[in-house]
Symmetry: C2
Subunit: 176 residues, 2 copies
DNA sequence: GGCAATTAGTTATCATGGCAACGATTGTTA
DNA sequence: TAACAATCGTTGCCATGATAACTAATTGCC
């Protein structure tokens, strides 16, 4: 039998202490999306917090590790971040100050600054991997394989449909 | 025929310029959730930006309006915010300075500070309503009614399963 | 009555997110 | 080759998000 939260009313409304129902189901969906993301983000932040890393810092560090020995340019990191609006420079400054990454002007194109993980950075991430991987699984553990696939597809659809409306300003500039 | 993004590969991977596929579908789902929310949040922020309101400010103002003539206590507003971690005081300071809300010490319980919308605040919101309502609908316009229902249910499930891990610290205190 | 525990808000501190402006470098082209 | 444009990154400014410490008011309990 379905749990109490499937009553129409619904769970979000009760959660947020609202007296009035949502104006429409689509409005409820929008709010649910944002609120759920807020909760999940905090869960990840809590996980990396003991390592003295903020969630965005962890995100950036992981991207740098993923780039391998060739390094990766600053703005490329920003593009791959979950929040692509971030001011990446200061974030990398902290990672560099903590000895987790190393920066170096690119050889042919001196405009670029390439980033590399240091052994310490790699060690830190490697230690965190099991926990993060576990949380990745736990977040959607409630969803069956079938629902999970549908969930990803719906998110992809929503993201694509709203890409124009929600792109950070610096990525839109190219369209002018 | 399904659009290109349904190819396994997948759309998110291409979007973020990743060379390697996700470790698992559940990891992909977690990242898709966070990234989608980021895009949608920006879309709403863009919408209220011309009114000199940040997205959280709009959110708070709307909650105050929803409370009606009885007013609403400061911390109650925070509970109902999409991001319940916010430092609400400064946000309300701005709204008050802009003349959109009015604050007043509660009568019987002088610890509380009740907030009320001013006529200007109401006017501003009323003018914004059509646009916000429209965006609420547009965000998930790609989803059929059936998928929409499933979407909301999945988000509710995820949120409930992660409530403990992702609650802001001040709400957890009660459990100690 | 009197005092500890609670509750409501405020404030301080630090890190991020959003934006615009700037400097440095490279590419283009008249 | 001398402007000019585009690209890459950095920096400044302001607003938010996360937490903890702190004040004030109220409640409970003896």
């Amino acid at each position: 039998m379905p749990p109490a939260r499937s009553r129409r009313g619904g769970s979000l409304q009760a959660e947020m202490g609202q007296r009035r129902p949502f104006r429409s189901k689509r409005q409820e969906a929008a709010v649910a999306l944002l609120r759920t993301a807020s909760v999940v983000t905090r869960a990840f932040a809590r996980l990396v917090e003991p390592s003295e890393l903020s969630w965005p810092q962890y995100n950036a560090l992981r991207i740098v590790r993923g780039a391998g020995s060739g390094g990766i340019a600053t703005l490329t990191i920003r593009e791959r971040m979950i929040d692509e609006g971030t001011t990446i420079t200061r974030l990398l400054d902290k990672l560099e100050a903590a000895g987790l990454i190393r920066r170096e002007r690119s050889r042919p194109d001196r405009r670029q600054v390439l980033c590399f993980v240091t052994p310490e950075g790699r060690r830190l991430l490697d230690g965190l991997d099991p926990k993060v991987d576990a949380l990745d699984e736990e977040v959607t553990a409630e969803l069956s394989e079938t629902r999970l696939t549908a969930f990803i597809d719906m998110l992809d659809d929503i993201r694509q449909a709203n890409a124009g409306r929600g792109a950070p300003r610096h990525t839109v500039r190219a369209e002018v």
